[in-house]
Chain length 335, copies 2
């Protein structure tokens, strides 16, 4: 009897040690996707994910192939009334204006300093590119990282007054977590600047810098006082939007995703690319249908225009998520 | 007594279940780096790695910051008597020659078809670029992937007669494994073409496609019979060599590495970039000193020239690995 008890004690000790290690595995204390209503959208997502992890099933994928790609603006965080990165540019122009007296009379800077958003829009795409270069280049990568971090610590959304970092969609963050808990690797594939997103994606979405694909400007290796730096030059390197998204996925990830989420025609080619494979795959569109809790827009919007992709969604079996009806909560700060 | 035994049986069953999960953790049945001699090189590497995982110590890094970057040609696999990717180009020219009668009189193709390696060298860098474009572009990414896979399945090293896939350095593969077992994420950062390496890096080094940074050519999204493809265009996109390596690391990984390994002046800027940070960091140079088991070359070599980086290694505290004396075995196939 004594020996048996001794053995039990020893086994219990080993068991405790073993379980300490086991505890590192994900543990679920609740149903997945709690901020999603119990509608067809949630079921379709969960059915697909369950199939991918069911060994021996037709929809099974090895963990290495469970690549999921997410657009950012309008898919993971709010893109209205203008892209968050444009908000950054506007603030940077104001901060840098004392060093640039010529901006007082030069567009698009003049309109920004006059708080005239319509004037900025008149400059069109070239104005925006010029704005991007003036605010995103001319410093080292480390310096830019600090500027971006400092900005996100204080900058607020013009309508809600919340920090921009609070403007993420809670159901999408839950979806990212749910996918990762099922062995997926989650990537951002965004038209936004990669070095604008990387400082915050880990904290906001659990997505580390190396899993962020985005637009880039040219950087150059230089020595300053014999210390290496990377200088950001005012030259576009790669535009990760529209047909650039499959190019970016191939360049940075080197595998085809099996899951893609977007919200605009800028994601169309990424959704096509993801669902072109013969194996099962999943594409979804976040449809902005809730003008009260967020913004309602699609075909006519200059930001996040959703037209062609919406037309083809049904025929291509892409899930269209209706934010108003499929989501219990949009933002975590909602009551 | 019966109850105690019953309890033991139940505990044993739980323990077995728990241990099955625990078995997924890395298990070491032997000393790390077994193909390394017990010299200072091995000790320096192990001391650094032990410090990075020692919580509370000055050299500790969180797992997310344990980024290790490795050059490929001459660091992970053999680059003599010519780059393996050049071997691929030569074979492709021969395979494609029937479709290109003009190559019979046009350099560098003529020299290749005549098996005149010196003639190819005369074409210089422009000849190599032209060669690269002729053999790496003009097909889809999927088609190129198949071509590369088929080639690696049969192509052999001109001196050893071994498959190129056998020409990897066993001590370096052990180092990759050792780093990963200690929570590092291992990347290749090579001047070689990223889509030439990705089909084999997982099998050869345990490095998945998304952890391979390399040179790229421009790809373009197209529809063929309404199916999306990426076409490889004859245009250089990014050269991941020399000062391009820190640029590539920043672009693709977005974090500074704390460990870097190279073998030539083409890695100099990567080693500088890695060791520029104020925190502890580690850089090593694989010095090709073994003319019997491999090749002996450094300052005068046209391939893998090692001159400036060797000069500065001591002053910068970079480890110079002496292949002849520090490695028990170079290739796994050695007796």
């Amino acid at each position: 009897m004594n020996e048996a008890l001794h053995m039990v004690a020893k086994i219990l000790a080993s068991l405790t040690a073993a379980l300490t290690l086991v505890a590192a595995e994900p543990v679920f204390s609740q149903e997945p996707l709690p901020s999603w209503n119990d509608t067809a959208a949630r079921s379709r997502i969960m059915d697909f994910v369950k199939a991918t992890v069911t060994e021996g099933g037709e929809g099974y994928f090895a963990p290495a192939d469970r690549i999921a790609v997410f657009d950012n603006d309008g898919t993971l965080w709010c893109e209205q009334p203008y892209y968050i990165q444009l908000g950054f540019m506007l603030d940077r122009v104001k901060a840098l204006a004392p060093q640039h007296p010529e901006w007082k009379t030069k567009e698009p800077f003049k309109s920004i300093l006059d708080d005239d958003l319509k004037g900025i829009a008149k400059g069109g795409e070239m104005g925006i590119v010029e704005l991007g270069m003036a605010t995103h280049a001319g410093m080292t990568t480390d310096q830019f990282n600090t500027i971006v971090n400092d900005w996100f610590a204080a900058a607020k959304h013009p309508k809600t007054g919340r920090l921009y970092t609070e403007m993420t969609y809670l159901p999408m963050r839950e979806l990212l977590e749910y996918l990762r808990a099922n062995g997926f690797t989650t990537y951002i594939v965004s038209g936004g600047g990669v070095e604008f997103m990387r400082p915050v994606t880990e904290k906001l979405y659990g997505i580390p810098p190396q899993q962020v694909v985005g637009s880039t400007i040219v950087t150059q290796y230089d020595l300053v006082d014999d210390e290496p730096v990377l200088n950001r030059l005012p030259k576009v390197d790669f535009v990760d939007d529209g047909p650039g998204k499959p190019v970016g996925i191939n360049k940075f990830i080197g595998r085809k995703p099996i899951f893609a989420a977007g919200n605009s025609d800028g994601d169309y080619e990424m959704l096509r690319w993801t669902t072109a494979a013969k194996e099962p795959s999943f594409a979804m569109i976040v449809h902005h249908t809730d003008g009260n809790r967020e913004y309602a827009y699609d075909r006519q919007s200059s930001i996040g225009k959703l037209d062609k992709a919406l037309d083809e969604a049904e025929r291509r079996n892409w899930l269209v998520v209706d934010m108003k009806n499929d989501w219990k909560k949009i933002f975590a700060f909602e009551q």
